[in-house]
């Protein structure tokens, strides 16, 4: 089993529901939508976390590309600029999955990226603009 993050770009008016449905039904993949930016008239963007076997994963990606989607593997990322960070902890107060926490002893910020769900709450909350989402 593998878990990979996919960054999908899809053309305007592309309906995503059937695409996601086929990933589950035909390719036995478990997709988890981390982030979606969908405006019906514009190009859309979606970050998916997909769990499944290696073969299923490859077949699934080929299927997505066949549907006219552009697929990038783990292209988007939450990036913490430690030089800008002042350890104020404001991001920790909005990070529900506890990806951002303060070390109990040093009270310095720690970032456990595996727990991040790309909700971007911290990006808005950080007064130092030390956290960015890069596509």
């Amino acid at each position: 089993m593998a878990r990979k993050r996919l960054d999908l770009t899809f053309p305007p008016r592309q309906s995503l529901k059937p695409v996601i449905y086929h990933l589950v039904k035909d390719y036995d993949l478990v997709p988890n939508i981390l982030r979606a930016q969908i405006h019906p008239a514009q190009e859309g963007r979606m970050v998916l976390e997909v769990t499944g076997s290696k073969e299923a994963f490859q077949a699934g990606v080929a299927f997505l590309e066949g549907q006219g989607l552009t697929v990038n593997e783990a292209a988007s990322d939450i990036v913490l600029d430690e030089d800008r960070c002042v350890d104020c902890g404001l991001c920790t107060a909005v990070c529900k999955p506890d990806a951002l926490t303060l070390d109990p002893v040093t009270q310095r910020l720690t970032f456990d990226k595996d727990k991040c769900v790309y909700c971007e709450a911290c990006v808005i909350a950080c007064p130092r603009r030390a956290i960015t989402l890069t596509f």
Binding site: V86, D87, C88, L90, T92, Q107, R108, P127
Partner: protein, 390 residues
């Protein structure tokens, strides 16, 4: 065993002074008792690094040829005050860019100056006989300025509120993003390291005190705005809600971007994190007793920021140790907490001030004049009146 300011300064001068940070002093007192700690230690250093909106700098640009009496002034498109002498200005940290809004403001200009970057100065004027120039557009660095000094009308708040939100919507405040239905709680104090919590009745901190301001040696210039010593206090005499404040002054040219950081609070505006540190002489056991207090002893009051009024309803008090644990209980609910004030920075400031005293022989100055003491009248509200009513 009382020690005088002169004795302590003599020990600093000879390099014999024993200096500890407030955290170290608390640990020592817990182990050896307050009496022994008071005897052994001469100076305790404090530190805090939180957003302090009432901050800013006085700048003098020097005269151009022909000269201008600057009336409309911007620095990197951030307006600065034009109501002083020809080439003097005051730039407040919360002023926002006319182009970039709250993403860049007075605080960012100051941080850029501290980082040695050139800043674009534009000014205009109606032109007068002695100041004929009507416009100027140039670049300045911190080195180019004749004078550049902080004058911060309100820093180092003695204690602060714990903010929660009982409404159904996200609130963007100067205490950060408050999640709906008690989704989180934010607070803003260095707790046991906080300058004014260590000298709750302003015995040693007063006008003329030598202090650390954003990495530069500076002074307490006056009581801070909204200084309100007459508030609820605990059994140690320490305020349980926002109380005293300091107005401070220091040379911007001697300051460091390590201890001054511009901030943009989404939905609120621009502010700056300012590092303030105050040395407190261990004059006697009374002062040692408050210096020895730890986060477990100090408390703050929880307020509902969902109520957008001057007086917000309270949910009682909580200790700083509880707040630092990352989770507190409010109204029977477990609520995750986030600080706003940076403890690692506060620790660095207290440690740096300790180094100044121990290694660079930074002398202490007794107050030239005391700050308004507890029992004095509190802060007056602003009533909304019409001209006819006056």
């Amino acid at each position: 065993m009382a020690k005088s300011w002169e004795e302590i300064n003599a020990r600093i001068a000879s390099g014999d002074a024993v200096v500890l940070t407030a955290e170290e002093f608390g640990a020592l007192a817990a182990e050896d008792g307050v009496k022994a700690a008071a005897k052994r230690v001469d100076v305790v250093t404090t530190g805090t690094f939180g957003p302090m909106c009432s901050s800013g700098v006085v700048l003098n640009f020097g005269h151009s040829d022909p000269p201008i009496r600057m009336t409309e002034i911007t620095l990197n498109d951030v307006p600065a005050y034009g109501g002083l002498a020809a080439v003097d200005t005051y730039l407040g940290v919360t002023e926002t860019s006319t182009v970039r809004g709250i993403e860049y403001g007075g605080a960012h200009v100051i941080e850029d100056l501290l980082r040695g970057r050139a800043v674009r100065l534009k000014a205009s004027s109606p032109g007068t006989d002695c100041y004929p120039r009507t416009e100027i557009d140039t670049w300045v660095t911190l080195d180019d300025l004749n004078q550049a000094y902080f004058f911060n009308p309100r820093n180092a708040y003695q204690n602060y509120a714990v903010a929660v939100n009982t409404t159904d919507r996200v609130l963007h405040t100067y205490l950060g993003t408050l999640l709906p239905r008690l989704g989180n709680a934010t607070y803003c104090s260095a707790g046991a390291l906080s300058p004014l919590l260590n000298d709750p009745t302003y015995r040693t901190i007063g006008i003329g005190s030598r202090i650390f301001v954003a990495g530069a040696p500076g002074y307490v210039a006056w009581e801070g705005t909204q200084h309100n010593p007459h508030t609820d206090r605990d059994e140690h005499g320490v305020p349980v809600r926002p109380a005293g404040t300091l107005a401070v002054i220091a040379d911007l040219k001697a300051a460091s971007p390590e201890y001054f950081s511009a901030a943009s609070f989404t939905g609120y505006g621009v502010s700056s994190f300012v590092g303030i540190g105050v040395p407190i002489p261990v004059l006697d056991e009374d002062i040692a007793a408050t210096l020895a207090l730890t986060d477990a002893d100090l408390t703050a009051t929880i307020y509902d920021y969902g109520v957008q009024r001057r007086s917000r309803p309270s949910f009682g008090t909580v200790s700083y140790a509880g707040l630092r644990s990352g989770c507190i209980e409010v109204d029977g609910k477990r609520v995750p907490t986030g600080p706003v004030s940076s403890l690692p920075k506060a620790r660095a400031i207290a440690a740096e001030l300790k180094r100044w005293i121990a290694e660079e022989r930074f002398m202490l100055a007794p107050p030239v004049q005391q700050l308004p003491q507890p029992g004095a009248p509190g802060t007056k509200p602003l009533d909304i009146r019409t001209g006819e009513a006056i």
